[in-house]
Amino acid sequence: MAYSEKVIDHYQNPKNVGTLDKGAKNVGTGLVGAPECGDVMRLQIEVDDATGMITDAKFKTFGCGSAIASSSLATEWLKGKSIEDALKVDNMDFVEELNLPPVKIHCSVLAEDAIKAAINDYRLKNGLEAIKFEESVVH
């Protein structure tokens, strides 16, 4: 199976690999997937409390090239977005942007889940309720 150029580019030059202080109150961490499924994504966001804007985003991913590319792309998209807008990112956005084939759709679902999990972690830390999401269809 051939990878799209965008997947290859993210794989070779991943954006925002790294770790934010998960103990910090303004950092939300989402850890999704499982080692036995072959994919684990950790996505972190740093939020400006005053404005509600995401000022920084970092990821680390164990997985195939498409999983790495999806998480790298997620960090790029999240930076500079408000939490509200970040919640609008949909798995199909990754599929379209990265030209993911059907067998790799789960990577995009995982990326969407990681964003939601990071936001919820941030909300819980700041005394807000976690948002209940509908179960993603493709798992």
């Binding site: 990878y3 080692p35 499924c37 994919d39 994504m41 995982l110």
Partner: protein
């Protein structure tokens, strides 16, 4: 100059040896006859070529030429051997013993047999990939007609105790079939010494052409027969009808001859390269060899690099190095290699494995390049891996509640 890409997937298939191609060429154009044409020189020539190849093939495995049934490859050989015995010996029993790490051509054939009323026992393997001979013997019952255990495994290269299996089979009057696909031509295989009654193997794993293989069927002590799975002109002593693939068979014969003559020298060189590759890659932290290192094919190694995912790892160099991974991220099931799982590996290690299959045309230079490329990619991906970070922080990954998806 190092030419890229490098081929290290010789368990999947091997390149043809130019000497094999040379032997085959005349049988496409000048000597195109049908080996079953008895009445003219075209047929005679083809038949003579097939007879010669049959001798070359037989000699490699210590068989009599009459015991060689040409097939289209090992999958057909596995099907014919197992289904053929099941049908032929139906009056004696319906029980077959095999192992969980067999190739799909054997496992799926056994599943078919279960569907049509047969009974199959799937032996588990030990952590080193070998079957337990006591378990094998204990599984034999009065209705057992066949033991089907592969000679060497395609993913991890583990070589089963074939001779001992042969002795057990003989003691209980059960036939012994072995899938010899990965072993024949690579290590000494002798159907007499090993006590093998039936064996499937194929040309394209030993520098011969694709689309041709053989089933060895013992003719003496005991005389074994299989029910044909393909009906027609009664070729191959009635066990496999169909016009013989003369050029393919000629190439197969030549490939067998070269393997027989060059095996010792080839193996010395190849195993030295394999050992070097393995030693260097094992210098990486948290790297594990899968399967027995003692009972193993000389050209194979299968290594898991913990906390990096196999397919992601391959992507780091697969434009330049051809390898296989035990990870199955490309399949919808996300199930990693069933062979690695049968060894008791966790899914995480099974997802992190690479299979190296060196070959006759592998060079030292290629191995050096491979060591460097893989080491660099593993390190790079670990820097990117959350699991690696947790491991380094001393977090026990098994205590984490993963969101299974």
């Amino acid at each position: 100059m190092l030419k890229l890409p490098i081929y290290l997937d010789n368990n999947a298939t091997t390149p043809m040896d130019p000497r094999v191609l040379e032997a085959m060429t005349p049988y496409f154009l000048e000597h195109f006859g049908n080996a079953a044409s008895r009445n003219h020189p075209f047929g005679w020539q083809a038949e003579e070529a097939v007879d010669y190849a049959r001798e070359q093939v037989a000699k490699l495995i210590g068989a009599d030429p009459k015991e060689i049934i040409f097939t289209s490859g090992a999958t057909e050989g596995d099907n014919l051997g197992i289904k053929g015995v099941y049908e032929m010996y139906a009056s004696k029993g319906n029980h077959i013993i095999t192992a969980t790490t067999e190739h799909k051509a054997v496992l799926d054939t056994c599943k078919h047999i279960e569907k049509i009323g047969g009974e199959v026992t799937y032996l588990k393997v030990k952590a080193d990939g070998l079957i337990d001979l006591k378990e094998l013997e204990a599984a034999i019952k009065p209705t057992t007609i066949l033991i089907s255990i592969m000679y060497a495994n395609n993913e991890i290269g583990t070589v089963q105790p074939v001779k001992e299996i042969g002795i057990i089979a003989k003691k209980h009057g059960v036939l012994f079939f072995t899938d010899g696909t990965q072993a024949v031509g690579k290590i000494p295989v002798d159907v007499i010494k090993d006590g093998i009654d039936l064996m499937a193997f194929t040309a394209h794993k030993m520098y011969g052409p694709k689309g041709v293989g053989a089933l060895y069927v013992r003719r003496k002590n005991p005389r074994v027969k299989v029910t044909a799975q393909m009906d027609g002109g009664g070729h191959e002593r009635g066990m496999r009808s169909g016009t013989l693939n003369v050029p393919g068979i000629v190439g197969f014969g030549k490939a067998c001859e070269i393997c027989r003559l060059d095996m010792e020298e080839d193996n010395k060189r190849i195993s030295k390269m394999r050992d070097h590759l393995e030693t260097e890659l094992m210098k990486l932290e948290e790297a594990y060899i899968n399967g027995s290192t003692e009972h193993r094919l000389p050209h194979v190694t299968n290594i898991s690099f913990k906390h990096v995912e196999g397919e992601g790892l391959l992507m780091g160099f697969n434009k330049n190095i051809a390898l296989s991974s035990g990870s199955a991220c490309t399949s919808a099931s996300l199930e990693p290699s069933y062979v690695l799982k049968a060894l008791g590996l966790g899914d995480d290690l099974a997802h992190s494995s690479l299979r190296f299959g060196l070959g006759r045309f592998t060079t030292d230079e290629q191995i050096e390049y491979t060591i460097k490329a893989i080491s660099e990619t593993v390190l790079k991906l670990r820097e990117m891996s959350p699991l690696w970070e947790m491991y380094k922080e001393g977090i026990d990954l098994s205590t984490i509640e993963w969101a299974h998806h």
